[in-house]
């Protein structure tokens, strides 16, 4: 089959080109990245910045998977399949961080250092 530039196949394509839509998404992603970097240096209370960063990253993440990776328009099973892995990974990370963050799991060197800092003042 020869390599057509744009063939009469156009007549069979019912959907409008997503070309401009993808460009718009990319612009939004770039802007969000810029906002993230600026946010880190602003004198705002820490918990707010952390929440904002995580939210913005999540928004970027969702944009890429639903639009660039086409999940928005594909069969929903693809989304389910990916989210099984994603949620399980998230749960495992959550559990591991809590396990290692527990008081009982603090390594002795860190505990000793904290104590030394407190003692010196």
């Amino acid at each position: 089959m020869s390599a057509p530039a744009i063939t009469s196949a156009d007549a069979g394509h019912h959907e409008p080109s997503k070309f401009h839509f993808y460009i718009q998404i990319a612009m939004i992603l770039a802007v969000i990245t810029g906002v993230e970097v600026v946010l880190v240096y602003l004198p705002i209370v820490k918990w707010f910045v952390v929440t904002a960063l995580i939210t913005l990253s999540t928004v970027k993440f969702m944009f890429v998977i639903f639009f660039f990776m086409h999940l928005r328009w594909d069969k929903v099973f693809c989304t389910i399949l990916f989210f099984i892995g994603l949620i399980l990974a998230g749960f495992t990370m959550f559990a591991l961080l809590h396990l290692f963050g527990a008081e009982a799991s603090k390594p002795l060197t860190a505990a000793a250092l904290d104590f030394a800092r407190l003692a010196v003042g």
């Binding site: 089959m1 099973f77 099984i84 892995g85 399980l88 749960f91 495992t92 559990a95 591991l96 809590h98 396990l99 290692f100 527990a102 008081e103 009982a104 799991s105 390594p107 060197t109």
Partner: protein, 668 residues
């Protein structure tokens, strides 16, 4: 529906002239002989290969166990050295899990899944072949250390000896500097690749290649369990892959993941290992639960009781299984909250397991029980697995586990679930499906003899271990003093082990005899329920003359009771497929094998990275890196040529007498 039988347009080869081939090695066409087996993409042949290798390693693992039990038969024994003892219990565990039970399950996945979903092969036949040969590479890497006992100049330091779960910091270069550990790390990594690739293939096959009318809730329970197991594999293996990378980096590149002096924490290994390790045990047991769920209805002459709940319980077990891993770590000081959380989750997982047991009992209840050999092993499974589950529940209570951890009680528990559970079910399955794939029956009498010897031998070996454990005998000890009160228990257990060995030997000897001299059988010797019994024994390469349409659960049972309707459907399907050019079959290929060979060269040399290359006592190269890179290049080239080769394929036509003719060269 006729469309569903036709080939997908997505392979893109519907042209009048043959597309140019970028073949370095042409697609082999021979079906017999060494080349036929090395290049096969037929799921049935691949299943036989997995099964053959697995049975070999099962016997090797059994031999390793017998040596362990001989060492422990009397106190203060010196049958073997302490070092060799460590190698034996490490390799016994590694072999039985990764080289026996897992590939035996893989064998059944390969043999049964395509037929049970009404397909002619898996979704990606060459990828299937790749999984098999990569598995062989992993098996070689794990066992290559044994050779250094016989060839002194191969300084591998013997087989791996740090326990099958390779805890840090024992695996650091400080404590186990020998190459044995590096081969273990790479061997497991390679086996992980094999399993992930195979599982991806089966997931796509089960979800996407079902025959018309075969909804998910009409799938055989075995296929459902295989699907859940495949999901468990692809989601759990990455954790151990990371852990293995980290230990490999610690050993070879000086990182500090588990190096306390550098800020690392060895407990991280335990967590990452068991994040994999716990789902792994469900990976081992879910397919056996599937076999039993097929065998019980056949020999109780009744459909499975509570099919939806059995399926749902299997899914629940898989899902909850990801949340219980730290029950292997109750005694590591994780803190009260963590310990309590994992204890509760572990107790919760007993619920769906118990639900399954009740459903199996419900299947038997009111049925007409036919005590053929597979049924006896299946009944044995229910009882023995339940006993293992009860000792498991005892472990789930963290305070009790503080006493039981690292004692022989744990060994009793997991051998009850793994031998009494997984192995009994596997032995049942081998007996049950042997007639299908070899076309011959196994003699009932000798089958039953082997069952009873195994049953008695198994219980004599492992029941005493519950008491040995509660009386304080620790695991992984080379010897024990005579005044500990453990003498009779160990003597009894070792005698039981020899009896178990005789039983296993009898079982396989009978199978070998049956392969040559067993009574020939037809397609459905057991009057069974699922689609594999609808095709000839042994099955033809194309599986089905006509892709079936499934009307109900237990599709073959429906076909047997609605013969006219089915005969008309089959005639229609055969016509439809012929009109699309005939039955489409996948082509064989050299590249999966070549890619695996490249991987073997790469990993074998990468394990010995910093060591100089010696040949006949002289140093030839400063390090193994060039050889490892060569292996890598071979691997990548094979994969690239594999991609360039394209899916290929040919057609076959079956005439009215059932004669099969191949039509190659025509495009499709």
């Amino acid at each position: 529906m006729a469309e569903a039988i036709a080939k997908s347009a997505f392979t893109g080869k519907e042209h009048a002239h043959p597309a140019p081939s970028f073949a370095l090695f042409n697609r082999p066409t021979t079906k017999t002989g060494l080349v036929g087996w090395l290049t096969t993409v037929d799921h049935k042949k691949i299943g036989m290969l997995y099964g053959g290798f697995a049975i070999f390693f099962f016997l090797v693992g059994g031999l390793e166990a017998l040596m362990i039990r001989t060492q422990l038969i009397v106190p203060n024994n010196h049958f073997i050295s302490a070092r060799l003892y460590n190698e034996l219990f490490t390799m016994h565990g590694t072999t039985m899990i990764f080289l026996a039970v897992m590939p035996l399950n893989a064998a059944f996945f390969n043999l049964l899944i395509p037929i049970q979903v009404g397909a002619r092969d898996v979704a990606f036949p060459r990828l299937n072949s790749f999984s098999l040969w990569v598995w062989v590479v992993g098996a070689i890497l794990l066992n290559v250390g044994w050779l250094s006992h016989f060839v002194p100049s191969w300084k591998f330091g013997g087989a791996p000896a740090m326990g099958w779960f390779g805890y840090a910091p024992l695996t650091s270069k400080t404590f186990t500097p020998e190459l044995a550990t590096d081969f273990w790390v790479l061997g497991l990594q390679v086996l992980g690749v094999s399993s992930i690739v195979a599982s991806l293939n089966f997931i796509v096959t089960i979800i996407n290649m079902r025959a018309p009318g075969l909804t998910m809730m009409r799938l055989p329970v075995f296929t459902w369990m295989a699907l859940v197991t495949s999901f468990l594999l692809i989601l759990a293996l990455p954790a151990i892959a990371i852990a293995l990378i980290e230990v490999m980096f610690d050993r070879n590149f000086g990182t500090n993941f588990f190096e306390v002096s550098g800020g690392g924490q060895p407990i991280l290994w335990q967590h990452l290992f068991w994040v994999f390790g716990h789902p792994e045990v469900y990976i081992l047991i879910l397919p056996p639960m599937g076999y039993v769920s097929e065998i019980l209805p056949t020999f109780a002459r009744k459909p499975l009781f509570g099919y939806p709940i059995v399926v749902f319980s299997g899914v629940a077990i898989g899902f909850i299984g990801f949340g219980v891993w730290s029950h292997h770590m109750f005694t590591t000081g994780m803190g009260n909250v963590a310990t309590a959380a994992f204890s509760l989750a572990t107790m919760a997982i007993a619920v769906p397991t118990g639900v399954k047991v009740f459903n199996w009992i419900g299947t038997l209840w009111g049925g007409r029980i036919v005590t053929r050999v597979p049924m006896m092993f299946a009944l044995g499974f229910i009882w023995m697995f339940m006993m293992g589950g009860l000792s498991g529940i005892m472990h789930s209570a963290a305070p009790a586990d503080a006493q039981q951890q690292d004692s022989y009680f744990v060994i009793a528990h997991f051998h009850y679930v793994l031998i009494g559970g997984a192995t009994f079910a596997l032995l049942a399955a081998i007996h049950f499906w042997f007639p299908k794939f070899f076309g011959r029956m196994v003699p009932e009498f000798w089958g039953k003899v082997s069952f009873w010897i195994i049953f008695v031998g198994f219980n004599c070996t492992f029941f005493p271990m519950h008491f040995l454990g509660l009386n304080g005998m620790p695991r992984r000890t080379w010897t024990y003093d005579s005044n500990m009160g453990w003498n009779e228990g160990n003597l009894f257990a070792s005698c039981g082990a020899y009896l178990l060995g005789i039983g296993i030997f009898t079982y396989f000897a009978v199978l070998v005899w049956s392969y040559f001299k067993g009574v020939k059988c037809g397609n459905d010797p057991w009057d069974a329920r699922t689609l594999e019994w609808s095709i000839p024994s042994p099955p033809p390469e194309h599986n089905f003359a006509a892709i079936p349409t499934v009307h109900a659960r237990d599709a073959w049972w429906y076909e047997k009771t609605h013969k006219d309707e089915i005969a008309k459907e089959k005639a229609e399907h055969i016509k439809a497929e012929e009109s699309h050019g005939g039955i489409h079959m996948p082509d064989q290929s050299w590249y999966p094998l070549f890619a695996a060979m490249g991987l073997l060269i790469a990993t074998f040399n990468f394990a010995q990275l910093r060591h100089p290359v010696m040949m006949l006592g002289n140093q030839v190269l400063g390090s193994h890196l060039p050889l490892a890179l060569t292996g890598g290049v071979i691997f990548l080239s094979a994969c690239y040529l594999w991609a360039l080769e394209g899916p290929g394929g040919y057609h076959i036509h079956i005439d009215a007498e059932g004669k099969v003719t191949e039509a190659r060269g025509d495009h499709h």
